[in-house]
Structures are given as C-alpha cells and as structure tokens.
Amino acid sequence: METYNYILLGLQVGFVPINLFFCFVGVFVGTLVGVLPGVGPAATMALLLPVTFHIAPVSAIIMLAGIYYGAMYGGSTTSILVNIPGEAASVITCLDGYKMARKGRAGPALGMAAFASFIAGTAGVVILMLIANPMAVFVLKFGPPEYFAVMVLGMTLLIYLVQGSRIKALVMACFGLILGFIGIDVLTGQNRLNFGWMELADGVGLVPLIMGIFGISEVLTNMEEATKQELYETKISGLFPSLKDWSDSKWPIVRGTLLGFFLGVVPGGGPAIASFASYAMEKKISKHPDRFGTGIIEGVAGPEAANNSATAGGFIPLFLIGIPTNGILAMLFSAMLIHGLQPGPLLLKQNPEIFWGTVMSMYLGNIMLLILNLPMIGIWVKILKIPYGILFPIILFFCLIGAYSINNNVMDVIVMLVFGVIGYLMRKFEYEGAPLILAFILGPMMEQSFIQALNMSGGNYTVFFASRISAVAMILSLGFILSALVMGFRRKDPTKEPLLRVKS
C-alpha cells in the first residue's frame, strides 16, 4: 500500500510540466552526448551542474538522470552507423550492429537497439520501484561498520571487475584515495596535503576532476588520433524489426534486462560491464555462436537491453545506500549533495518526491527517448556529420566555462586542466579512470565510517564482523581479493583496447 502511494506521488511529481520539460532536456542532451564523440555523460552532467543551481532539486535530479540513461540510447547510434562507440556501454554493439549496417540492415539494428533499450529501461524501472521500499527498510539497519564493509566490498568489486590491468586499477584507487585526503579532515578539522594552499582547503572539486579526467583528456586524445569520421552511407529504412527479428531477440532482451539490472546494482558493474556480460552470455548459450560478430540481431538486442537496465539498477545503491557505483553516478551523487539532499535510506523518508519523482520520470523519459531515437534518427545522423574541427573547439570551450561557472573561480579551470593532463597520461599508460573517481568519492566516507566504527567499539576491530551484513561484505571482499591474488593481477582482456578509446 505504501509503495502504491509513493508511486502516485512520483507520478504527480513526474507530470508537473516543469519536470516534464527538464526530463526532456535531460534525455535530449543525453542522446546528443551519446551520439557525439569527445564528451560523455559524466562530463556533461558536470557541465550542466551550474545550470541546476537555479532550478528545484527534483527537476535537477530528473534532468541529470535523463542524461545518464539517454546517453545509453544515443551511444548505440554511433556504434551501428560509424563503428565508433559513443559510450563505453555501446562498444559491444559495434560488433554486430555495424555489421548489420554494412549488410544494409541499419534500420532494424537501430530500431532493435531503441526497442530493446526501451523495454529494458522500463522493466528496470519497474524492478527498481518494487524493491525500493523493502531495500530502504533493510538499509536503515546500517551503521558505520556496515557502511564501511559495504564500501570496501564496492571498491574490491570495482577492481575485480575492471577491464584492464588489476594492479593498475588498484594504483588508481590509491591515487583517488590520496586525492580524497586533500583538504580539511572532517573529523578533526586538520589540514591534509593542501600545503597551506587555501584554494584546496575544501579538497579537490569533483566537477573539475571528472571534467578533466573524462572530458579534456578525451578531446585531447581524439584530436591527436584525428579519428576519421566514416559514416556508413546507407539509407536507413525499415526501423521496425521484422517478426523474425523479434523472435530472435525476445529472450536476449529478457536475459539482458535481468543480468543488466543485477550488474547495475553491483559496485563497479554498471552499463559497460553489463553489455559485455550479456554479449558473452548470449554467445555462450546460442545454438550458433559462430554467427556472433557477423551482424545478427541478438548481438544488438541483448547488450542494448543490459546497458539500459543497468542504469536503473545503479540507482539502488545510489539512492538507497548512498554509494555511487560508477563515475557517472558519482556525479549525480555530488549533484544531490550540492542541492542539500543526502542520498541514503533516509532520503526515501525525508524526500520521497526526489526518489519517486525521478523513478517515475524515467518511465516518461524512456517513452521520449523512443520517439527521439526512432522517428528522429535522421537528426542524430546529421549531427554525426559535424566535423571534429568544429566540434572539439566547442566541447573544450564548454568544459572551460562549465568548470569556471561552478564557483566563478579560475582555480577550478586550472585544476580541471591539470586533471586533463593526468587523464591524458592515464590513457597513454593504460590506467582506467573509474577506480580513481570511485575511490575519490568513497575514500572520505570510508575513512569516516572506519573511525566512527572503531570509536563505537572502543577500538575493537571485530566490530567489522559483528553484524551479519558487515561480516558477509567483509568476507566477500576478502574472497575477491584472494581470488584476484590466486588468479594473478594481470590478465589479457580482448575488450581492453576499444574501451581505452571511449568516454565514461
């Protein structure tokens, strides 16, 4: 009954004209950045953060969330038509989607990508809605030891699931933690690692950090590589997949949705991993695995479903536990903090309109996206034709203004550029950005929970194993660490190369 009332509340919030407008802005911008190279949803959210200062918190969150799931739709368009993934989560769509386009089936590929995204996105929201309340009640039992243990598990999983070298992922996590130490310590008020530089007393800003690591470095790398835009000139017709296409795709969509949602909840999982996992699973259980990669619709439907339901799954740890599981959700997390909202179990009690309004707006957003991405596909194809020579200066310029306008401070611009250089070097040395961002966000929270837990227990470390939740989380973390050690830190991953070229 309670859930029913909340759903009604969410619908009321979602249908307010201003919220509908910002939902549309979010999904439109999301599709746009999904299509465009050089800037991803995290950097875009960072860019639009100052804009949200002037609107109501619920409208702001609705818009930013729209950018996230909207980018998942847009990302597949470039994968299918240009063979350049718009998003990390669309890398795998290139394999069969582009091949379908080469065979003259760009229409059904784009159509199925949009329909699979829609079905999975909507189903993901339904699951999210159903488990939100019971989950919130469960999370209310969390104290500092549980929070610490869950965050340790999150960090461990992120490193365990990382695409490239694990040792480098761990180094990045340490670097993120170190960056998180900079500034005044929350518990004691003592300055750490800011070398008396007052501009850094509040620590390194998340927005310049994300824009530098993901935005600036991406543009620099793209400029250097001078990627040729080879838009596959084909007439896009027959966007509605045939009955046979549907029959081939129905189970991949169902499996992709469930797997994607689960991997969205898992820290370090997220849309990219979900799409890879779905592709691997479909190939494994298929009767004709050899046909994957030759342009079959199952190779588009499964991963596209998975990456969309993973975005809905990611909202569970973010909204209900208060732990962002990837860089993009970290951006949303920080936007909520800026608007005076504390993500976590209490959010559902204190600000139910934020959570339920956002969830309900996602239904509407998915419908808008279907319209934006099917009948209006021509517009996005035209945008793909804008030369990089015009696009990159504009993206760079917007990053500069975005960083400046957060605090009206040149220092933020300089910090962003410094991280742009670091991000650029990270790409060269094959270090991934996600562990850094997550450690940067979770680090201070972990430290705080750790010290609070020890204070609670009088310095007794068994407190981290005292409750069932924290014990399970700690044992799982240890298990993952041990298994990583046994299997070796480094493994070859065939998917590593393309991931280096895409934005987060």
């Binding site: 670097f175 170190i178 130490f181 620099l220 020579g389 504009i394 760079l396 060269k428």
Partner: protein, 152 residues
C-alpha cells in the same frame, strides 16, 4: 606490461613514500584510535607495494621488447601547444576578461586546431562568446572576469 611502465612505477613509488611520510607527520595515532595520518600512511604503504609490483613486472619484461603504445611519444606537439594555450587562457582570464580572452581562444581553436577558414573562425567565435555570455553570464548570473573591456 610495457617498458614505459617502469617510469610510471617509479613515479608511484615516489608519491607513495611522500604520502606515507606525510601520514606519519600528521600523526598515526594508535591502532585502536587511528589519527589523522593513519589512512594516508596506510594508502601510501599499499601504493608502495603496488608500485614495487609494477616496477618488478616491467623489469622482468624482455629487453628490447617494443612498447606498442599506439601514439607514442605521449605529448604530441599539437596536444602540447593546445594545453599551453588553454593554461595561458586560464591564467590570463582575469586580466583579459571573459569576452576578449574567450574570443581569442575560440579563434585559435577553430583556425589552428579545427583548420577552419578565417572568416568562419572569427564569426563563429563571436557567436559562441555572445551566446555563452548571455546564457551563463546573464541568465545564470555567473560572474565572469571583466578584464580590459570592463564587461563582465
């Protein structure tokens, strides 16, 4: 791992030692009641061992093995110049002001980086600066530096 990872490993080693030392300076506290420096020290220590791992693996690589970084050397001249211009823009923003500084920056980016024609670069830059000034400066009330033109 590639041979250039050796340099990366050494850099991380230096950072690890530095952060651990700072941790000691901040005060480690006790195991029961950790001080402000406890976490930095611990993270520095972990980073120390990780960087040792990276260095050892890099050293174990067969000599002469070619690093196959796609785009080496890592700072191409073009990227280096763009970065220098972007930093110069940031440092001179207070003096030049938003309108003038951004106008010159955009012309440079369009003309040199984007290889567009002069007329296109100048006109588009003017339009971009005007739109962003109106949107961010007027509508969102961002306080841009006034600079030489005294408009902000």
């Amino acid at each position: 791992m590639k041979k250039y990872d050796l340099y990366g490993g050494v850099l991380w080693l230096v950072i690890a030692v530095f952060v651990s030392a700072m941790g000691v300076r901040f005060g480690l506290g006790t195991l029961k009641y950790p001080g402000v420096g406890f976490f930095p020290f611990l993270v520095g220590l972990i980073l120390f061992f990780l960087s040792l791992g990276i260095i050892l693996v890099a050293l174990k690589e067969k000599r002469g093995q070619k690093a196959n970084y796609a785009e080496w050397p890592f700072f191409r001249r073009k990227v280096f110049i763009i970065l220098a211009i972007l930093f110069a823009y940031s440092f001179s923003l207070e003096y030049l002001g938003y309108i003038l500084g951004s106008f010159f920056l955009m012309i440079y980016l369009f003309k040199v980086v984007g290889a567009q024609k002069w007329l296109f670069s100048i006109v588009t830059s003017a339009i971009m600066v005007a739109i962003t000034y109106y949107f961010f400066g007027v509508l969102l009330q961002a306080q841009f530096p006034k600079g030489l033109l005294n408009i902000g």
